[in-house]
Amino acid sequence: MRKVAIVGAGMTKISRHWDKSLQYLFSEALDKALAMTKVGKAEAIFVGNMCAQDLSRQNNLGAIVADYSGHLPASSMRIEAACASAGAAILAGYMAVASGLYDVVVAGGVEKLSDMNTRYVTEALGKASNAEYELFYGASFVSLNALMMKLYMELYGVDRTPFAEFAVLMHKNATVNPYAQLPFEITLDKALSSEFIAEPISLYDCAPIGDGAAVLIMCPLEDASKYADSFVEVAGVASATDTVDLASRDDILLLTSTKIAAEKALNMAKTSPDDIDVVEIHDTFTIMGFVSLESLGLVERGKTPQYVKEGVFEKDGDLPVNPSGGLKASGHPVGATGAYQVAYLTLQLLNAAGKMQVPDPTYGLAQNLAGTASGSYITILKRGR
């Protein structure tokens, strides 16, 4: 297998883009990514997306985005893996380059959630659960996460405060992210007193609904300097699955798919959790952020509340978590989220993340989840040149 590099990363601001279509958003991000490189046209496009058929009444995104962005006749296909669609698209892009099938690949994601009212969005997103055994009975993602949070609070004897503290940190980080949907600070009191969505989850525990696209340009590592002056190496990629319904798991606070995929990716990158300098984790809800950090092996189980309080996850802490603001405050355009995470890390490792920059990182890890971690996609980036 060939080693793979990322030579370009482009993102749109995450927002409610009332007047921009799926293809417009994707093209905007793609143009920005290409502008970082000497790449003219893509050979292949992998576009992650979850909800186009439900919320935009559109399928066949592969051809749509290739046509609209001026990349005909590239091979182009949509990849759907719920909220991890873009993580899966990046894995597909990696496989395409590593295998030698293509040299210049575009991998990313696009999502447009704001064309329909919340109940339709909730239903479309709910289809990432086991629709027959969970969604049908009213178990939306917020209620499934509420079950996890209740158990976490009971098991480790904590209240809602550490979760709210994590939300406060995410909002603080987002204030310097030009792509963030919620770039404003919140107080601990505001987070704690906000409206319950599904107790104990309140408004500020949740990622917002938003639209956006993020795109990466991938090529063989050995050719990277042909396409760009600076680049990063994709040092490890892996994915794993778990039971789709939460009820079938022995331990709902351990994301087994994340644990397995992280071990594989770290192994592939010949590195360990201690070497990771910055992470972008999938904090759809604050509780999902907590169990993600613990399942990745970055934090001892039950210790996340203590680490939040000690400032370990701050940008200048021992383990910077989501310097972008994460899904919580940067935003969560579901099928594009995994590409945002890798794009943010690419900027970090290129030392081009502006005010989001953490000090001199070598390794970055992105964790992109489908549903309640029925699928996990881990991407480990290493500083290139």
């Binding site: 409610r16 009332w18 007047d19 704001s114 009212n117 919340t118 906000s194 409206e195 319950f196």
Partner: protein
Amino acid sequence: MKPVKEVGIVGWGSYIPKYRVKIEEIARVWGKRGEWIKDDLLIEEKSVSGLDEDTATMSVEAAKNALKRAKISPSELGAVFVGTESKPYAVKPTSTIVAEAIGATPYVLAADLEFACKAGTEALQCCIGLVGSNMIKYGLAIGADTAQGAPADPLEYSAACGATAFIVGMASSNSVAKLEASVSYVTDTPDFWRRPGKPYPSHAEAFTGDPAYFKHIREAAQTLLSELGLKPSDFDYAVFHQPNGKFPLRVARQLGFTKEQLMAGYLVPWIGNTYAGSSVTGFSAVLDVAKPGQRILLVSYGSGAGSDAFSFIVQDAILEKQPLAPTVKEYIDRKELVDYSLYAKYRGKITLP
């Protein structure tokens, strides 16, 4: 837009039904926490029409108050427009009921106008055009609604009842506020709608904000100010449509108006959103207290979507006319709280098999 002849308001009057239901009371029924909703909407309570009240009766009350201040005979009215989205009859004009009840028939143009929450200012625009072109001597413009919000829908916390009437005539020593100019700004923006035969409206959640309410009000207001060569500080009062407490405060800030300019016409915390009656009742409350020489900005917003913006200069006759009819504040202070069950009964939400 400016009429050929100088036009002014010669009489104004409002009517707000006496019943109120508190936001906490509605929230209690739907299992929501009242203080969260109050903090979010900045509304304390909303006005509720009684069993024997509807858009026609409220319009008549407001028109009678306007006539008292106009000091004209109703037979001098050449036009009666009722702007509303809660017509008592889907087919059969409300304006004829009002015109007949106040004694303005039969030689009168009468029509109902619908443009969601901006139908009241549309009525005003029509009267300005007819008076300003000398086709009629006086025109009666009414904005009134018994607004519908489906049970448990976010709109139920704000949809309220009220009416305001203006009598438009030539600018003269009898007029209380002279029109400087107006602007109408309209696009096809489907943020809120109600299909035929449906009892309650639908809406597109956050889409009703930035691309709808804020964009249209900003565009209309900024265009008017630029056409008149005025800046926000040239105005003593500003009134914007009030779908909730937050939106008018935010749009005022965006446009550069202060809270002080807003407060005289800011009524939504105590009566809710009276839809086509909303911005015009705010304007009515400003006329209740305004002094000669002061300048007033009025900007409505109607979903669908559009805004009408007006600039008025207050005239001397206002002082003599202010005491001639009940003020908006008097109507707000005259209240009786009802619980959700009485509210549901009064608003026709309970239907017997």
